[in-house]
Subunit: 358 residues, 2 copies
């Protein structure tokens, strides 16, 4: 899975202060190359079966290939956003919505699988059952989630809730899988892929861009992040057990919690900041672990918020048993507390960060 | 509500190191006097109606009178336990189970009322409704809880859950009230009251007790507390959002969470330690605020654990609607997180305490 980017400028020329549009071009070429490689692997491995390829130098199964596809699309999309003034406007304005569509479409299948895994793990934790895979990484796509194999340890309500969530989220995941396959076979996708293929050899920079410094645009991205973080209720979030995340847990409004939106926004801005740093510092530079921790907290925030929503949604299924609804209520509240815990974790890592950088 | 104890030894003679059985006798006489005064007031105010008396120097309504009764019984009972070797064994062994019975019986009505109030407040918080009485003290006994007056803000599930809890806990409270009235009219109670009346004039100390120091017994009580605290999982409790309290939230075992028991035990030992300090330091001495904070955290722990249990119990009512069960599930999880928050608060206040006393 190690990535080697074709980098014509070389790491030597990449000291901070001298980073120009050339570096952006190198980064985009590398990401485009990575995209094409992941796409080829995705096709070779069937794009939907669990049979790994024999390649030893990259993604080995369609799950890894799909992840690499999403990864490169996000980075190209993010760089086009942050460094927009350096890129040919007609080309980049045409590309951006297409990349957003592609990124969104490819993300759904994994999101549903991860959500189900998260909810089944939580149900097991709440039932006091020991779950052997709990400490491992989430790998829900290839085999059935281990959770389903030990349903026997669950109470009737928890087991029924698990079965209901599994039915609903597996259906959603299957549909997302079909949609992703349709997407990858569509002429719209082929047009995007052709554009990315062109990017791998020729990045459409504006005339002055190759010698224009990247720092002002990267700094602007960082400032957008900092401003958004400043607007977050971090004092509340830093006070443990503030009970904020569940405050509308029984609200009649079925829409996603409005209090989550600013956190989701910070998550996106943090990602853009991280990608901008990758362009500036070369992707192989050591990762800022605190930035990574903050990002992971926000990923957890998003995942828990969506899992809580899925539990609440499942509870609105007609004619479910009271015991099922009760288990879904406990599960919903548990995930909303995960949301609160993630905000606390973000506040903690961000505080360290603020102290570190004067 | 200020209490003036008849204290024959006077505060002057009460410096630490010289405190003997005489001080214990003074404390017990004062508590017995307080008990008799509260009992008289309870009878004068009818013991069950909300009409306040005109007394200006003490408890003014049956709720206050009942509280003062419980308060003095707990202190007499606790002192008999801690300073047992200094008291006539026949007398104290006969008294202790009677005081435990009385204390338990008198506590139930208030407990059910407070539990209902806590659960209705939580339902309103979870529904995003603003609850005017939220910042005030809990005073559930006299008027109907304000929560019930704005049911309109709740979702159907939350409203039905609230109505169900109100029905069940009001019934339990009414029964507890009858039981308490029966208790106060029983010959068993009259025997205890007669014994306490004797205590107000004559404390049955052992022959050597008046000149025996109280410190070793008080220290032993403190050590029992310290040992029990040491056995608590304080490292986990001090790590916010550890998700321990809900770990058996959907367990098939309907019994109270076994993980709560050591905390309940510490709550009782902390109370005994506090009463021993009252005997040693004179009750009018400034209260150790950290000890008070630790005790309040454990009270909150107990209250939240019992409220969570009541929500789970209500969810087992036959033929409830799924929306009701869902709201009860959210409520249960919310209260279990309150349990976790209370453990965190205890850990924080205890840590400060440990740092303070070398």
């Amino acid at each position: 899975m190690a990535q080697r980017h074709l980098d014509p400028t070389g790491p030597q020329s990449r000291h901070a202060g001298a980073v120009t549009g050339d570096a952006l071009a190198g980064y985009l070429r590398a990401q485009a190359t990575e995209f094409l490689r992941a796409l080829r692997l995705h096709r070779e491995t069937g794009g939907g079966t669990a049979i790994g390829s024999n390649g030893s130098n990259g993604p080995e199964d369609p799950v890894d290939a799909a992840r690499a596809l999403r990864r490169s699309v996000r980075r190209i999309s993010g760089s086009l956003h942050t460094f927009r003034p350096l890129l040919d406007p007609d080309w980049s304005e045409a590309m951006r919505p297409e990349l957003a569509w592609l990124s969104g479409t490819l993300a759904m299948e994994h999101a549903y699988a991860a959500r189900l895994e998260r909810l089944l793990l939580a149900l097991h934790r709440l039932s006091g059952a020991v779950f052997p895979a709990q400490s491992g990484s989430v790998a829900p796509s290839d085999t059935g989630p281990p959770a389903t194999q030990e349903r026997g340890n669950l109470t009737v309500g928890a087991a029924k809730a698990g079965a209901l969530l599994e039915r609903q989220l597996t259906l959603a995941r299957t549909r997302a899988h079909s949609t992703a396959l349709q997407c990858l076979g569509s002429s719209r996708f082929h047009a995007v892929a052709d554009n990315i293929a062109l990017l791998a050899s020729e990045v459409p920079l504006t005339p002055g861009a190759p010698s224009t410094g990247l720092h002002p645009l990267a700094t602007a991205a960082e400032e957008r992040l900092t401003d958004a973080v400043t607007a977050l209720p971090l004092v509340v979030a830093g006070s443990p057990y503030n009970a904020e995340a569940l405050i509308h847990g029984l609200s009649p409004d079925p829409a996603p919690h409005p209090q989550d939106a600013p956190w989701h926004q910070v998550r996106l801005l943090l990602r853009l900041h991280r990608y901008a740093l990758e362009v500036l510092l070369h992707e192989s530079a050591p990762v800022d672990v605190r930035l990574l921790a903050a990002g992971q907290a926000l990923d957890r925030h998003r995942d828990a918020a969506e899992a809580a929503g899925a539990a609440a949604q499942a509870a609105r299924t007609p004619r479910i048993a009271p015991a099922t609804a009760y288990a879904l209520g406990v599960l919903h509240a548990d995930q909303r507390h995960e949301v609160e815990a993630a905000r606390f974790a973000f506040q903690q890592s961000w505080q360290k960060q603020a102290v570190r950088t004067p």
